[in-house]
Every structure is written in C-alpha cells, then in structure tokens.
Amino acid sequence: MIQYKALEMHSHTLHSDGNFTPEELCRAAKQLQLDGIALTDHNTLSAHAYLISHPEASRIPVVTGIEWTTFFGHMLVLGAESSIDWRDAMPDTLDHYLKEIRAVNGVTGIAHPFEIGSPLCTGCHWDFAVHDWNLIDYIEVWSKAAPTTQFDNIQAFDMWTRLLNQGYKIAATAGRDWHWEGPTRLHSAATYIGVENGEVSTRSICDAIRAGRTYVTAGPVIDFQISSGQQTYAIGDSLHSGSCRGRIIVDPTVRQEIWGDFGIKVREVRIVANGDVVLSMPAEGTQESDFDLKLRPGWVRAELYGDALGETEKRIGFTSPIYVE
C-alpha cells in the first residue's frame, strides 16, 4: 500500500557550505513536520559517513544523496551505491555519467535548472547537453523560497512540461536548497513521495521517484487518481487512452501550522493533459471532486491554483503525471 510522505529533497550541512550540523538539519526538518530529508551536500558524502557512525544524530529518515556541483550544472544524485566522479563531466559528455550513476542504482535529478549562473554562481544554471532524457529521473521544478513566484521556477516548470510533451517520463520535486535555518517562517514547498507502506528510506524514495510517485505543494496535500474499467491508476501509473473517471482530493488540514501563515488558499483545481487545461474546477477548503475525462495518449496531471503571499492565481501545487498510452 502506497502512502505519501512529506520530504525536503535538497539540503546542505557544514560538510559543504551549509551552516547546519547534520543534527541541526535533522532537528529543523522535524520542526517542519517532515517525514524525511535528502541530505545532498556539494560534492561530498561525508555527512552521511558521519550519520552512519553517529546514528543517534538523525531523528528522521535521511536519504543518501550528493549534489554534483559541476561547472556546467548542479545535479542531485540519490542512493548511488558507489561514488561516480563528478569532476570529469563535460557539457557534452554527461550521458556517460548518467549511465554510470544508473548502473550503481542511483537516481538523478536536475537541480534549479534556471538559477542565475556564471560568474555569479558557476554551474548554478543548467548548461549540460542531455542527449537521452530517459536518463534523467526527476527535475527540481521548484527551488528555494517563495517558489510560487520566482521566474526560474516558472521556466523550470515549462521545461518539465516540454519534456513530458516529448514523451519522457520525469518526476517533479521541490527543494529548499536548505543551507541554514534562516527565518523559521519561510514560504516554501514540500515534495510528497509515495512510498510502500509509508516507509521512508533511501531505497524506498529512489524506487518511488523512478516510478514517478511524487507531487509538490506549497500548501494542501493532494490525492489524484483515475479509474478506468475496474482499475484505479495513481500518480506515476500508466493507463490506456479513452474515457475514464478522475478523482481529486485536496486536503488543507495536513501540516497547516507550517504553511498556514503565507496566505495560501486554493481557489481552483486544474486537470492538465499534454500541456493543455482540460478541466477547471473551483475549490475551497477540503475538496473532493469526481469528474469525467477523455484522455489521449500522453500524460495528465493535477494542478492547484489560488492565493499565495498576497498574490492571486498562483500555482500552489502540482502532481507528477499519470501517463496515458
């Protein structure tokens, strides 16, 4: 049975350029009522080595990860069973390293692809040529604070949508790119990931991302399903094209203490198929809607819109797709 858990998917400690000790990071993550955290220091796994020898330091499941902080792009690599050298990847040779990462069961995500780059922040902008996008498992579509309004997140969202339209199966995540505690009340998003029996571990999170079981929200939790015949399909699944019945539940009661202060209010649920809005429904409070859909091959996802930080008609959350064959 798949259960969705709230994670922070991009974080740093003083093992790279963060201010957190691993203990402090785990404590801060607990305060945000998260169920797990991917610790992704720049170009080192030493915080994970520390946590292995100090198991009492992590009071929350920690996903093994590293941020490949190369000169041509930043890339989150989770769960790799041996270390692949980040230093040799050149703008045109990344696929080779993506294959090596996959060969050691790692999962790869592009971090903040449209962040301002060189010389302000070398490698922060994604400049790698990816020849086979099937080698990319996920894209960090939302990065850092105030994700609903930043231009680079809108560009990343559009990039992800373009790749889905080209037929690639790529999951979406958010990441605070958490370096220090900062203002405790920071408007940000969480990535919810569907793991077997609700168990958060490096393995279960990698499996879930590979299967496309993620959604991102700055507020309410989302449950999105499609029924066709006797079968029900959830985020990441594939079904056949044709007539079917969709169902979405939006629940603002979960972790509301964490995001409730940012004026986030869902006003509308949109169902988007192959890049086009195929259905729009007004929404308020806890929302359960059933609706008819006629799906063509491609993909379909749910998106939440409404108020955030005093602005209206902002994208507040979105699911990774259900795929249509």
Binding site: S16, D17, H42, T44, T69, F71, S118, T122, F151
Partner: protein, 160 residues
C-alpha cells in the same frame, strides 16, 4: 612532521571551469594528514568590471519581463573567485570542501577527517588533490597548497 607538498599556482580566468590535479605520494603511513590551501584575491576589486559582468549575467539569465526586480547589480557585488579542494586516495574519492573561505585547513585521518572529507587513514600510497576552479574573474589568483604528514602526537604548526 614531514612537508610532503608545497606548491604555488597562478590561476587565470581561462582556468575557470577546469580541474587542476596535484599528485603526491606518501612513502609511509602517517597518523594524520594536514592540508592547507589558500587563494587570493578572493574578491574582484575592480567594481567597473564587477558591474559589467553582473549586468551581463542578469541579461543572460533573467527573462526580460522579470528583470525589473533584478536591476540592482550591487546586490550581487562583490563578485568572488571560487576554488575548492577535492581529494582522492588511490582510486577512492574522499570528498571535497565546497565552501567559500579562501583559506582552509583540513585534517585527514582514520579517527576522523575535517567536514567534507570521509575519515581515512593517512596511508602510504598515491594521493591526489584536485583543485576545482569554479571561477577566476579578472586578475590572476595565486593559490598555495601545502600537505604535511603528522606523526602520533604531532600537531599542525599554525605558523606553517
């Protein structure tokens, strides 16, 4: 205490986005390895150049409709050079100290290494420091790297 490596390099803008390997070998086991590196200048002092480079980057990366919010180039000044140090023993990657301080001291030992590096014995064999030259902007940057082998009970001399 044995000085194993003491090297000074000059890094230029064209070295940006390259890795510079510095190999050394240990003839015998040590208790700990002490690594110090520093580079200077850290900041790009030429403010005209900084302004030019920052405005260029904003134009390149920020779409026109969002640029109004990014007009203050001073928010991004001063521009800084960034060189990080990563370390390998034989074929094994031990980590990197990816942070901005232009002077860093690190210990590598089986009992524990400095943050960024996994614990590893200061063992005899082939070692490799790789300087990751993320950004050199404007004037050349001088970079000094020292490696010292420490025996049991020896402490790194702060005057080194």
């Amino acid at each position: 205490m044995k000085k194993i490596l003491n090297q000074t390099l000059v890094l230029k803008p064209e070295n940006s986005k390259t890795n510079v390997p510095l190999s050394f070998s240990l003839e015998k086991d040590y208790e700990r390895l002490f690594i110090r590196y520093r580079y200077f200048p850290k900041k790009v002092e030429d403010m005209d150049q900084a302004k030019r480079e920052i405005l260029q980057a904003l134009e390149k990366y920020v779409p026109e409709e969002s640029r109004a919010a990014y007009s203050g180039w001073r928010d991004y000044a001063p521009l800084v050079n960034l060189v990080t140090l990563s370390l390998d023993y034989e074929k094994e990657y031990l980590g990197c100290a990816h942070r901005h301080a232009p002077e860093q001291k690190h210990i590598i030992s089986a009992a524990g290494s400095s943050p960024g590096f996994v614990p590893h014995p200061a063992a005899a064999g082939n070692w490799k420091i790789v300087l990751n030259v993320h950004a050199i902007i404007g004037n050349p940057v001088t970079c000094q790297v020292e490696v010292i082998g420490l025996e049991k009970g020896e402490a790194p001399d702060d005057s080194i």
